[in-house]
Symmetry: D2
Subunit: 346 residues, 4 copies
């Protein structure tokens, strides 16, 4: 429908669709309403509605996910995260520790990754853990430390939300909300971040097909939040030599199917820091829009995911290699807004 279509115009279209024996679904988007039509002969319905008042266009979409397809929106989505743009052709490196462990750990890491050229800071304040007895994150204190790290470096921050009740609190403090792999089909949470005003980093579920992953994104977008960045982080297979199996072919596949940006998490995918640089370079070569990579000042003593975290030195070296590779691909690494701007914002 047009951006300014009236309720009567919408109702008229719905009636026409029903009259022809099809089922209409209202698909509210970020800035206008779409009407999906389910049925097997899209050509016939197109002719019947395309010229009705208030109708902007009639687009056939062959997939179960609709608004995230390139059929629906051919133009690439660019997501703005606190002034950093993901999906604009640059390569955005998001780096930081798995878990926020303290103020000093967070700010020293933020400074190190900022200096090396990362554009966004990551760090978990609320941690989903397989065991109820494992370290679950610092919670609200962790959000404070992320704030401090942002003030110190100007890097926008992304952090995870675990439950619908957390979304509003976290959205007030973070620049981007992460939905983790174990919540990739937690539909109540997807709806909650769909109603939030912050962009969303949506990890692929451990055993989600590409179709299920895009349907998860459709949940967020169809609840009104167009700012979704997809994150491939490895799927579960029979192979145990790596923590998961990085499905890198999903990057060009998803980019052909969807207009949403796609980043790669080589840390969780491989589980071993010595494999992270090779997979980071491969992600860039495969056309990903960015990376999510774990960096820790002292990986041996990290409270979570130490074996897969890069040291500062390894991260410096990786950034230099990424920069050179990006150039040969006519791309550049995304940069964060200046520290001054960030300080003013605080």
């Amino acid at each position: 429908m047009n951006v300014n279509a009236t309720k009567d115009e919408v109702d008229n279209v719905l009636a026409h669709v029903r009259d022809r024996g099809f089922k209409p679904i209202e698909l509210p988007g970020a800035d206008r309403l779409a009407i999906g039509v389910l049925g097997s002969n899209p050509a016939s319905i197109r002719d019947a509605i395309v010229d009705l008042p208030g109708v902007a266009d009639a687009v056939p979409v062959s997939k179960p996910y609709k608004q995230v397809t390139r059929e629906w929106q051919p133009r690439q989505t660019v997501v703005d995260v606190g002034g950093v743009r993901i999906g604009d052709g640059s390569f955005t490196v998001i780096a930081g520790p798995c878990a926020v462990e303290g103020l000093e750990q967070m700010t020293s890491t933020a400074r190190a990754v900022a200096r090396a050229g990362a554009a966004i800071l990551r760090g978990g304040a609320f941690k989903p853990r397989t065991s109820p007895y494992a370290f679950r994150g610092l919670g609200a204190d962790g959000l404070d430390h992320l704030d401090a790290a942002r003030s110190a470096t100007g890097l926008p921050v992304v952090t995870e939300v675990l439950t619908p009740g957390d979304v509003e609190t976290v959205a007030q403090r973070a620049d981007m909300l992460q939905v983790g792999t174990r919540n990739a089909q937690n539909f109540a949470l997807l709806e909650a971040v769909g109603a939030a005003t912050r962009p969303v980093l949506l990890k692929r579920g451990l055993s989600n097909t590409v179709e299920e992953w895009l349907l998860a994104a459709e949940y967020v977008v169809s609840h009104g939040n167009p700012g979704v960045v997809l994150c491939e982080r490895g799927i579960r297979t029979f192979e145990t030599a790596t923590r998961n199996t990085l499905d890198l072919a999903a990057v060009p596949l998803v980019k052909s199917l969807s207009h949403l940006p796609v980043v790669v998490d080589p840390s969780h995918a491989t589980g071993h820091r010595h494999l992270v640089p090779a997979m980071s370079l491969a992600a860039l070569a495969a056309g990903a829009d960015g990376l999510l990579v774990e960096v820790h000042p002292d990986p041996e003593n990290a409270m979570s995911d130490g074996p897969q975290s890069l040291t500062f030195e390894m991260f410096d070296d990786l950034m230099a290699r990424l920069r050179r590779l990006a150039e040969s691909l006519d791309r550049r690494l995304a940069t964060a807004p200046s520290q001054e701007k960030a300080a003013n914002r605080g």
Copy 2:
């Protein structure tokens, strides 16, 4: 610790554990506190604490999950669901439609499965769906229809909860709370049902190992709810001829590791109604404590999961075959409390 151990006694044990270089974890259970000790030489710590005041016993537990193991509690847990006991040696059949679609559908199905000998009624009022555009259940109206079906038949009911915010509402209306496969590692939800007073039917996650599944159960039990029934419902593998791959060997495996009852869902596991009877009989022969099976008055027109739902006739036939097989294994099918009792309760 003893049931009536004082705070001083607990603190004293914690101090002793720390003094010896181990890390103590308080594990609050349903009726008493346990203290877990993490470290690599359990024998030495055992001697140091077993005779302290307030200590009931010191039990070595080799698994990452603790309270759900047979090492911790050798005795089989029996879970009471509205008067039906699961895990007492009988075979409990839980049956009903995937989704509550209306009053007539729900009560007719309840009467049919009750007549055939089912002990508990299932039906989803809140449905998790892969697509945001699919039927999501009738919500509160669905709970009303479940109430009506219980009143009509005396069958206790189990229904799914999707988010922590729903737990209290649903717990007031249903006899058992189901946590679905996509929420099997939604830790906030596991904690919420852990704090509820209703027993929990915990489905195995689509790609969860047995260890992860038992850790999910540990979340519920460690938050104070000992009434967990595990449900094997098929895992995701490369095979697409069936909807999932029923991992039936997980039944004797989990029963050897844990004291919790285990039931099998052959409907979601296979996805094809013609495979459900064979897998139901196999589940009984493998030692499962019961079944969760989908039955619908008109599967061809079901709003969800029609292809895997049994007709009333198929369910009648299955129950007769299960009854005969149970006898040969010196077991019997569990029965529901009488309709009168149920009516009084309403």
Copy 3:
């Protein structure tokens, strides 16, 4: 085609098929020639050929495998293994050690499993091993020990073939040829056993779909050997708590698709002897035609697969439980021909 169709009649049918724009494939079977027709409108071609001279019938087959389908042959295949019938409604237990280790081991095991009621003896003389440094079997000596064990007990024997060059030698000594899981798509070997005069025990490949498994059987049958028994032995999945994941639902599924008998190998599927009895009972309840189970006089010291081998005592107990369960299902355990007959045969 009719059993006695002439070459001219065959050529005439081929020409008619080609004239209508379809592609004919000659499918030589055990006792007559079939002509497969590839194309998308089977009804039209049926009318054109069903009344031609030499044509027995025209049967539409919707699957990529043809001769193994029930569409092609609705009647259940019964495979005769040295006088033991598999697929006739009885439940055939094939038992013995993973590897033939010596004369004494083989004959003592044969006597123990015969006494307990097994119908066929298994034992590997040629062993496929993942490592080139592992025990590879006794080879020709192993065949001698199998001979001796058969003479001592009257049990027919099944043993594995690894390469086309072995088929003739092994076929002269064994009653049934086993094709192992790692050779399930070794098409040269499938063709070689397809040309042999002994029945074939065809294990499902580690990551084979049901369709690929039936196509492997089609290789054997289409090369002239109708005596194929399918063996489900677990597939490879992400779960490592068991050696493989027993896909028991494949039993009723394959039995609905194909007329070939299906047996289950709970030993390789689970990898743990304590899970073997439950899965054996489940296999019977699921409708399998038999079992392939590992039994060893001293599992702790077995040269291969000790952890999954039953002791004699466990096997005795299992057979008693299977016998009782079979009765309740109106089935009986298959029995071997008498020792006298076997001795005469030797």
Copy 4:
């Protein structure tokens, strides 16, 4: 052992190993004998044997595969394929059709890929096919066409062997022998190519772990053939959007574990030509030693694997992108020996 160690010296070492309660295994390599020692205290045995006559060195190897590890041989293996070196730091592109379909198809493709810069030609004369009714390759005629294509271009050729009986014939005609994914654990075939004088392209099995894959390579090397190139071609997982799941992280992993070269087959891994270029670039960036890529003059009408074959134009474009990317990584694309030399050789 030293290259010129005598039999007495070998026997003396074997005796010393046995005397200390360990089990020695003779591991014949390409140019000298090694003696593996199985047991749990390698340090103690090392001291006992390292100074015995004829002993070159005592190297602890922690993996079940021995001779393929970097512990055994730290130096990278370089495999010579008809004058093209794989593993010397360059990036070797092997290209051609899935199946040899005819002389014209083969020579035109050879000329096209040679012109674009491929170093080795691929083409299957003997094709393993899941269905017995599918096109199985031209056999000996296919080998003739490969010969002609080599003469026309100077490109060495690699082609598949299916059974031990084919190895000698194919080895006389081809420069490299391919072992396909379905034969990755066909141990009789691995032994046969281990005894051949041509290098071997060893594809990873559909569901093989990295450990099993390296053990397959160990079969070849331990039978005397050091010229093994490993080929990652995708593993089987739950995801069906791609034909297989390319496990690109296996490249840096295997290169850290083993001294053997590793190439990537993006065609079979993805199954879709539009994903092949991105995965080819990613393979180079991940550190692979080369590519195996399918190219066909008319993919729409290919007899096998058309949907995943590149057109000539796509291949030209890919080679240009690979060349540029290689430069930025300080690598270069390998080149074939000149056409003149090849002509002289013919």
